[in-house]
Amino acid sequence: MSVVVLLIVAGGLVAAGFLGAFSWAVLSGQYDDTCTPAVRVLLEEQPEISTHKGTTHVDVDR
């Protein structure tokens, strides 16, 4: 039965990992705008754009 304890600890750690990942996503601003990114991916990217430094680099350092 003591293996259950091991499972509980493992399960708790995995769940806590996901909670941590979610918190990181929220705090880094990924949930600030939930509308535009959905629209942005639909737009055709022209080949020469990806060579430009500024646009492919998507940092959210607010």
């Binding site: 918190s23 949930y31 629209v39 607010r62």
Partner: protein, 818 residues
């Protein structure tokens, strides 16, 4: 309309629409057709050419032409962004600047679709100094990263304006702050969800029949549950306790009070049960409840994300004014403007403060503040009121009163703007809150007394009553129903400031309309009533009118020749008149000149009398015309929005309609059929405000529909103030809702939908009270087991969420236009 032949040989008539903005070209005064396609105006063609030149025509990849119509674009005077060179002004927009790189947040009201995002995020192709742009479609803001050495904020604003996305650079700050409260809500939701899942996992072994767990595991599971419940209690649920505390302190009974009471009872009872080893407690119900309540709160918050509607009078004024000092014009921020300053106001700019005209006469258009459509002529020495728009040439003015003391500002200092409106929903919440708290406490005491000799049972019954009496489903139904309704209405052109406005809309019994800009639209061609001139004379009059920029002249020049009442010779319409010579225009009074050798004059009766010596005869407020010996008059009325009369008729079935207009009463007969005697003309902004107040004191529930500034007071005083806006680049004044002018005709259906929303809220209230009653029978019998609570609570929450959002979506499909 244009006839085109389809591949299979059939001919079809298609409406020609602008390649850039998709608006119909027919009827547009300066539509043009180039090799690239048709355009509704010169501005649209310019933007198209600019995009072509920068290889950005991917903008037009979608089905509908995505551009912003340039018809109303303000005169392309680039100096209006000169204010952005002023560091104190720029500082309001710049989020961060280290000299080498800077980031600015601009509010661009014109952003509306995916193509806008595509284009604006490629701004660096047009301005190489821009490194990156990021568009927020919902809040309509653009974050621009740029190198201050290579470009400037002013240049960026100019480039945006050239593309048709003019940034709203006003005195108000742009809300660029990261939405911290929203992040907090997501974190609270995440923690609650995490705890809810884990607590359920550890509670299930207790609920399943079979060999009982050994005591050690039970204690372990209970301990873990308490551990998971603590962050829910202290972090996720903290806002509910805070707002309940605030409500208690101000002695109002919001629904948050019984909620907080129920949550405290749930958590407290569970901790005690676990500590005393009496059972597993209700921690799974507790975490689940907080989780569902936070989902409802997220719904509510998503609605508030849209741009704040409230603007003050200052958002209508220019940022800086050109002040003449030692003969040189220098831009000066508005707040540093002093009485006695001599300022130059260019054509189409708004006069920022009450002022005296210094030299040349000019014309001032007060449509913005009074609703009067006809511009007023002013001469040297006349007073110009703040909020007037200079019509033609640059005017020199001397400020007589500072901005904050002007007429415009005084209207905004009216106390109606100071107090937030009380929404009916908050009344309902307060009533239900008081009722619920009273009933719950009463029943809990009664239950405890009934079980009294057994003190343990009495306490458990009392807490069980408080737990099930928690009106959680009730608090979820209103935000979710109204939030869904507001989102669906927003997709159809009616934007509510707060979802709770939908409930107020459902209770309206009186609708007051402003006329100019509301029932009529600046975008429609005015209609003309012509008397006494026709044929060649009418052609001569039109030829002369074409020289002038006065709205009446523009209407005459743009009129279809067939409008002339007595055109007899069809050939006349084809031959054009010669060029007018010796033209003399007195701004705002009239114009005269010689066309094909005949003396032609257009203007007010005094002007005609002075110019030709003849005393004109005709109705008041008509524009008089003379061509040679022929005399006549023209009455110009701005056209009603298409379909607005039918909409008003539909509204009149269930509502009392009033017309409250700042304009003169010449168009009375036109609206008489709709409004009967309920028409008031020549109403100042103050009159409109007191009209609305008086109607409300009579017990009416009034909705005021107006175009913004000149009825801002009335909009604020009404139960629902609805501003009509043309075009996506709207100036949203102090109001409760903004309606897109093109969708004004759907107003009766919107109101019908709002009434449906109220019925759904009431239905949800009934359902949740039924659930509470079922729970109470368990609680009072002392039979509320953790399992019963764990089933009843999520089931009731999910029913309410499903019922409210489902019913609103279903009725949107049935009641609203698609």
């Amino acid at each position: 309309m244009l006839a085109v032949s389809l591949p299979d040989g059939r001919a079809a008539a298609v409406a020609v629409v602008c390649r850039h903005c998709g608006e119909p070209c027919a009827g547009a005064a300066d539509a043009l057709i180039t090799a690239d396609g048709a355009f509704c105006c010169r501005g649209c063609e310019t933007v198209f050419a600019l995009l072509q030149a920068h290889d950005l025509d991917g903008f037009y990849a979608c089905d509908v032409p995505p551009g912003v119509s340039q018809k109303q674009a303000t005169a392309r005077d680039r100096s209006r962004f000169a204010a952005l060179d002023e560091p104190s002004v720029a500082a309001r927009l710049v989020v961060f600047n280290d000299g080498a790189r800077a980031r600015a947040a601009l509010h661009v009201p014109g952003i509306h679709c995916a193509s806008c995002v595509w284009l604006l995020e490629r701004l660096w192709r047009i301005d190489p100094g821009v490194e990156r742009t990021e568009v927020d479609l919902l809040r309509r803001t653009v974050l621009v990263d740029y190198r201050p050495g290579a470009t400037s904020l002013r240049r960026i604003a100019e480039h945006l304006a050239d593309l048709g996305y003019e940034p709203a650079v006003t005195v108000e700050d742009v809300a660029a702050a990261a939405p911290a409260s929203k992040r907090r809500l997501y974190l609270q939701l995440g923690v609650a969800g995490f705890a809810f899942g884990n607590i359920m996992l550890f509670s299930i072994p207790r609920y399943v029949n079979g060999a009982p767990l050994d005591a050690g595991f039970q204690r372990l599971f209970d301990g873990l549950n308490v551990l998971f419940a603590l962050p829910v209690l202290f972090f996720s649920a903290s806002d509910f306790f805070r707002s309940a505390w605030n409500a208690l302190r101000t002695r109002t009974m919001a629904l948050d009070v019984p909620i907080a009471l129920g949550l405290l009872a749930l958590a407290g009872r569970s901790f005690f049960d676990i500590a005393l080893g009496r059972g597993e407690g209700f921690l799974d119900s507790f975490a689940g409840l907080v989780f569902f309540l936070l989902i409802a709160r997220l719904f509510q918050q998503k609605m508030f994300e849209r741009i704040a509607f409230d603007r003050t009078y200052r958002s209508f004024l220019p940022l800086t004014v050109h002040v003449e000092r030692d003969g040189v014009l220098t831009p000066v921020p508005l707040e540093r403007l002093r009485a006695g300053d001599c300022i130059a106001v260019r054509a189409q700019e708004i006069v920022p403060a009450d002022a005296l005209v210094l030299d040349a006469p000019g014309t001032i258009d007060y449509a913005f503040t009074t609703g009067e459509a006809t511009p007023v002529a002013v001469a040297a020495g006349d007073t110009v009121r703040a909020g007037g728009r200079v019509a033609a040439a640059t005017m020199r003015l001397r400020i007589t009163r500072e901005v904050s003391h002007s007429d415009l500002a005084r209207l905004w200092q009216n106390p109606v703007f100071a107090r937030p409106k009380r929404r009916w929903l908050s009344n309902v919440n307060a009533t239900f809150g008081a009722w619920f708290t009273g009933a719950a406490v009463l029943l809990a005491t009664a239950g405890a007394i009934a079980w009294w000799p057994d003190s343990a049972a009495a306490v458990s019954v009392a807490t069980a009553v408080l737990i099930v009496a928690c009106p959680c489903a009730l608090t979820m139904s209103a935000p979710i129903t109204l939030g869904t309704a507001a989102a669906l209405l927003g997709r159809r052109g009616l934007y509510l400031k707060d979802p709770a406005v939908a409930l107020d809309l459902s209770r309206i019994d009186t609708v007051a309309f402003d006329k100019t800009g509301t029932l009529t639209s600046a975008l429609e061609q005015p209609s003309l009533e012509i008397h006494g001139v026709g044929g060649a004379s009418w052609r001569h009059v039109r030829a002369l009118a074409a020289v002038s920029t006065h709205p009446a002249s523009r209407a005459i020049a743009g009129a279809d020749p067939m409008d002339a009442a007595d055109v007899t010779d069809a050939g006349d319409r084809i031959r054009s008149a010669g060029r007018p010579v010796d033209v003399v225009e007195e701004p705002g009074r009239g114009i005269r000149g010689i066309v094909d050798g005949r003396t032609v004059a257009i203007g007010s009766s005094a002007f005609i009398a002075a110019a030709t010596g003849a005393i004109p005869f005709g109705p008041d407020h008509a524009t008089f015309v003379v061509a040679g010996k022929e005399r006549g008059w023209v009455r110009i009325s701005t056209a009603a929005r298409p379909g607005v009369e039918d909409a008003a008729r539909a509204l009149a079935e269930a509502h009392d309609l009033f017309l409250v207009s700042g304009d003169h009463h010449v168009e009375q007969t036109r609206w008489e059929r709709l409004f009967g005697s309920r028409m008031r003309f020549r109403q100042s902004p103050d009159d409109k405000l007191s009209f609305v107040r008086a109607a409300r004191e009579e017990g009416r529930r009034v909705m005021m529909v107006g175009d913004g500034l000149n009825d801002a007071g009335a909009l604020a005083a009404a139960d629902v103030g609805m501003a009509v806006s043309d075009g996506t680049a709207c100036m949203a004044p102090a109001c409760d809702a903004v309606i897109d002018g093109r969708h004004l005709v759907d107003l009766p259906r919107f109101l019908c939908y709002a009434r449906r929303a109220r019925q759904v809220v009431m239905l949800c209230f009934a359902v949740s009270i039924a659930y509470n009653a079922i729970g109470l029978t368990f609680a009072l019998r002392g039979a509320l087991t953790p399992l019963a609570a764990a089933i009843l609570m999520p089931v009731s929450s999910l029913t309410i969420i499903g019922l409210s959002s489902g019913a609103m979506r279903w009725s949107a499909r049935r009641l609203l236009p698609s």
